[in-house]
């Protein structure tokens, strides 16, 4: 975890750095001295068992909750004290794990609220909203009320609204949760396409195949602590990670049973997803 500020070339090595962030709720330490770095242009994953503190860390990064201690550095700027809407203005957009549509507004009006962030004129904002709707596959439902959308549609709407703010860093909180396998297959190329347009992505996700296929780099949070970091293949084999998901001693038992180490990836993924 590199905490240095910038490359010799002057380019920042990371678009986002979380430095030793701790978040306490009364006596409960939800996030404990966690650090991470998101390289520009990457898709970085944040995984961990239920209750590990992933969403809490997300709310701290997006400015909805203050960190108890530690710093959030975005684009070499300390944003720890910046309120949520200011962070959106400098290019940090987030989606919500529990979708939060503007229920009585239409799909295009929902997205336009995001588009208004950088476009003062209604016509411009609506035009951008329509383009973004096309990008995420909502182009055919512009005038439907948001409350009429399916779960998959609402997840896309979350994504579209965040994209419409013109972010450089997109924080995706379980955009695949609650989708069926075919909806997940449809969504993955959408996320890839967003990255290809130059948006850096930090994604919290439970759906392991998706995380493994999407992410360049993965951080694992367990009981509030960052226990592992690395490329997907290494994370899947990391004994600490396996233990965090499956309990103490699980790594050893798995190692013992499946003699060749490589195919074990499959089993671990399968288990991890159910965990």
């Amino acid at each position: 975890m590199s905490l240095q500020t910038s490359h010799p070339t002057g380019l920042p090595t990371s678009l986002l750095r979380v430095e030793h962030v701790t978040k306490r709720f009364g006596g409960l330490v939800a996030v404990d001295d966690a650090s991470l770095a998101v390289a520009p242009g990457s898709i970085t994953g944040l995984i961990g068992p239920n209750g590990a503190g992933k969403t809490t860390l997300f709310t701290v990064i997006s400015g909805f909750e203050p960190a108890t201690t530690g710093r959030i550095v975005y684009d070499d700027r300390d944003v720890t004290a910046l309120p949520a809407h200011e962070r959106a203005r400098i290019g940090i957009a987030r989606t919500f794990q529990i979708v939060q549509p503007f229920a009585t507004l239409s799909v295009v009006e929902n997205i336009a609220v995001g588009a208004f962030l950088r476009h003062a004129a209604r016509a411009d904002a609506l035009a951008l909203a329509r383009r973004v709707a096309d990008q995420v596959g909502l182009g055919g439902m512009l005038d439907q009320p948001a409350r009429a959308l399916t779960v998959a549609g609402r997840k896309r709407l979350e994504l579209a609204r965040a994209l419409a703010t013109g972010p450089r860093l997109l924080l995706l909180d379980e955009v695949l949760a609650g989708l069926n396998p075919s909806e997940i297959r449809d969504m993955i190329p959408v996320i890839r396409a967003i990255r290809e347009r130059g948006v850096t992505i930090l994604i919290v996700e439970h759906v392991m195949q998706a995380v493994m296929s999407l992410c360049d780099d993965i951080y694992v949070l367990a009981q509030g602590r960052m226990i592992a970091q690395g490329p997907p293949a290494r994370i899947a084999r990391d004994p600490h990670v396996v233990e965090a998901y499956l309990g103490h001693g699980a790594a050893q038992r798995l190692q013992g049973k499946s003699t060749p180490v490589t195919p074990a990836d499959e089993t671990e993924d399968g288990h991890a997803q159910r965990a």
Partner: protein
Amino acid sequence: MNARDLATGFAPILLVVALLALVPLFVSSNTVLNFLVFTLIIALAAQGWNLLAGYGGQFSFGHAAFFGTGAYAAAILQVNLGLNAYVAFLVGIGLGALVGFVIGYLSFRSGLRGSYFALVTLAFAEVLRILANSAGFTGGAAGILIPLEVSAWNFQFESRAAYYWVALALVGAVLVLVRAIERARFGAQLVAVRENEAAARALGVDALAVKLKAIAISGAITAAAGGLYAQYFLYLDALIAYGPWISIEALLAPIVGGLGTVFGPLVGALALHGLSEGSKMFTGEIPGIDLVVFGVVLILVVAFTPDGIMGVLGRLRRRLAGSTAKSTANAAPLPAREEPAA
């Protein structure tokens, strides 16, 4: 904004205002004009409430605070300081905005919303009423009388029709203002805050700033209604200016007419007062019959058409236009759960 937007957005307002402007040419009865001026004053106050509550989702039970401030400012600045009536009227509007900002700052800063915000606004209005009732410069319990000096320069007119046109012009201006807000970034952000404040903040909306702007504009509009009331009736006391009656009038009209719609407050005010006057005429002088009508209408609206008369009209129009009609109606209505209990 292109020509089509102008046509769909502002043409109906012009049409409605133009038609209403013709009324005094056919009606000369002072009773009817008196009723219409009063109803327009209510519609104006109600439009202020509608901006904050209908569009912004911040339900106030104390818009009397703004109405009374506008009314007292108009009266006191003329009587005690000798200011020109129009200047006093404009200062009153400014003070209404200021009172709105202060109440908003105190309550929104501390995160009050829903029924807590409603109760705080009610408390502010009541405190102002008690203060106005006991202070010297407001005339105290005896009230304050604006001397009758009929001249256009004094904002006093010989004919009811002139008052009617002035009130209508103000209502028309505010209809245009609210329509413009509805179509601007501010309007989109205001509705977003109503629908889901957290989601709005995530999209870069400064929820506090948006709510403060809304309550200041809302206060200004309702203060204008108060100023007009003072100019028309030329007498005020604390119960008229800051009394709960106007807080209730200001919220009933948009709820009946259609929350968060441009025409809701005007339509609601005309419907409610039309019905109550009508029932008074037909039943003779049964005391309190107008209030019974108010109550019944409110129950019917909340139970059967939570999006008000405008919602019913919108559905009718869509049915007539067939299922191909696009949803270009005004801002969507609030979900039923957000109605304040009567």
